[in-house]
């Protein structure tokens, strides 16, 4: 295989896939394959989303009204289902992003070597 593979694939944290999908769609409408490729590219090949997680997530987000889908045509004339971020989805993205930032700050604080070790 001449496929570039992530050196170490990381299991996605529960619930982070939704955030990643919403964030990816911020840059414009995209089909499922495009989303998968973009996630992989923008994570420097570390995150590789399993299609068995991606498509259920896309359809769930659609049911929740955070993304909308319609059939369109790709650059190479392939009929594809294109997903767009809705206004509701944009708000949800902001919420999830701030939650994520809190979590990541907290994790950073816990894991950072303390400047002054207790003596």
């Amino acid at each position: 295989m001449n496929e570039p593979r992530g050196l170490s694939r990381i299991e996605l944290l529960q619930g982070t896939l939704d955030l990643i999908i919403l964030q990816t769609l911020r840059w414009g409408p995209r089909h499922g394959y495009g989303i998968a490729q973009m996630i992989r590219a923008s994570s420097d090949d570390v995150l590789q989303v399993d299609t068995g997680s991606l498509y259920p997530a896309l359809h769930r987000l659609e049911r929740q009204g955070w993304i909308a889908a319609e059939w369109g045509t790709s650059e190479n004339k392939q009929r594809v289902r294109v997903y767009t971020l809705t206004t509701k989805g944009r708000k949800q993205l902001e919420r999830e992003r701030s939650q994520w930032e809190q979590l990541s700050r907290a994790m950073g604080a816990i894991l950072a070597p303390s400047p002054e070790p207790e003596s």
Binding site: M1, N2, E3, H31, G32, Y33, G34, A36, Q37, D50, T51, G52, Y55, P56, A57, L58, H59, R60, E62, R63, S74, N76, Q78, R79, V80, R81
Partner: protein, 321 residues
């Protein structure tokens, strides 16, 4: 396949087509690209399935339940003989179980309808073949002896089951009843709902022309008329005065088809006036509060000078019969 399933299939096909095109653009052969794309994608059917479930949301389990039920129903319809046998088996098993439970509940589980039934003992000769053979009853002499040795028991009462004929109130009818000592109601911890229990004076011969009715007899024969108190009814041709009516549902002996009537019989006042009546009833005794029942039970030998009678703990209704 529904329209939505077809849509998901098409979406997956598009994903594969794009992946193949990508790989071919990077120089892979069509065959190689197809194989790699499929390998990367994974199981198409599985992905389609989980996606469909995500689409339907939490309602999915109801849908599945419906499917299972429909499938089960069709399977049963296809094999009517098997279905009939299975249903018959279930029906029989359920029926048998409830029948057995009804008996077990009535005989073993339901507590006696008396106060503090754990402290009630029936004194009798030890039955040789517990619990299916009825023990012989004690006689009046033994009752009097026991009554003189009440240290281990709070109170002692005697009764004797009797069948009597009620006449003068509609058609003559045969009733099941019991002749009982005045302490009987105190021992069982029940009191008449109407009127009063027997008094010690009524234990004396000559004063015993009093009777207590069961609620059912009172309602069926005397229309639940409260003026029955003090009235006279005829039992076995002898007039007796009604002094009380027991609470509803309470019968003695505790079996629905018996126990229509409670009656005070004369208990001989002294051993010398002992009168053999072919065996008086088992004695009922209530252990003293605080006396451990184990201690009471260890004393299985008779208190008096005679030999023969012992105690046996009354733990179920069936054993007293």
């Amino acid at each position: 396949m529904s329209e939505r399933d077809a849509e998901i299939r098409e979406e997956i096909a598009a994903h594969l087509a794009l992946a193949i095109a990508d790989r071919m653009a990077r120089g892979a052969s069509r065959e190689e690209a197809e194989r790699a794309a499929r390998a990367e994608f994974g199981n198409v059917t599985h992905v389609a399935e989980v996606t469909r479930e995500a689409q339907r949301g939490p309602g999915i389990w109801l849908e599945r339940l419906g499917q299972d039920l429909r499938y089960g129903w069709r399977a049963l319809r296809r094999t009517p003989a098997f279905t009939a046998v299975a249903v018959a088996t279930l029906a029989l098993a359920i029926g048998a179980n409830s029948a057995v439970f009804t008996v077990v509940n009535g005989v073993l589980l339901a507590p006696l309808p008396f106060r503090d039934p754990g402290r009630l003992y029936a004194a009798s000769y030890l039955p040789t073949n517990l619990p299916f053979e009825l023990p012989p009853g004690l006689d009046d002499r033994l009752y009097l002896e026991y009554r003189g040795h009440v240290s281990r028991f709070e109170q002692v009462a005697g009764y004797q089951r009797q069948a009597l004929t009620l006449s003068g109130a509609g058609d003559a009818t045969r009733l099941a009843g019991a002749r009982a000592s005045a302490s009987f109601f105190a021992v069982l911890g029940v009191q008449p709902a109407l009127g009063r229990a027997f008094t010690p004076q009524e234990d004396q011969a000559g004063n015993d022309q009093v009777v207590i009715l069961s609620d059912r007899l009172w309602r069926t024969r005397f229309n639940g008329d409260r003026s029955i108190l003090g009235a006279t009814i005829t039992l076995d041709g002898i007039p007796r005065t009604v002094v009380g009516v027991m609470p509803r549902g309470l019968t003695f002996p505790p079996r629905p088809r018996y126990g229509r009537r409670w009656r005070c019989g004369s208990m001989p006042a002294t051993p010398s006036s002992f009168r053999s009546s072919g065996g008086c009833a088992p004695m009922r005794r209530r252990s003293r509060r605080g006396t451990s029942s184990n201690r009471s039970l260890t004393r299985r030998t008779p208190i008096g000078p005679w030999t023969g009678p012992g105690w046996w703990r009354r733990s179920s209704r069936s054993r007293t019969r």
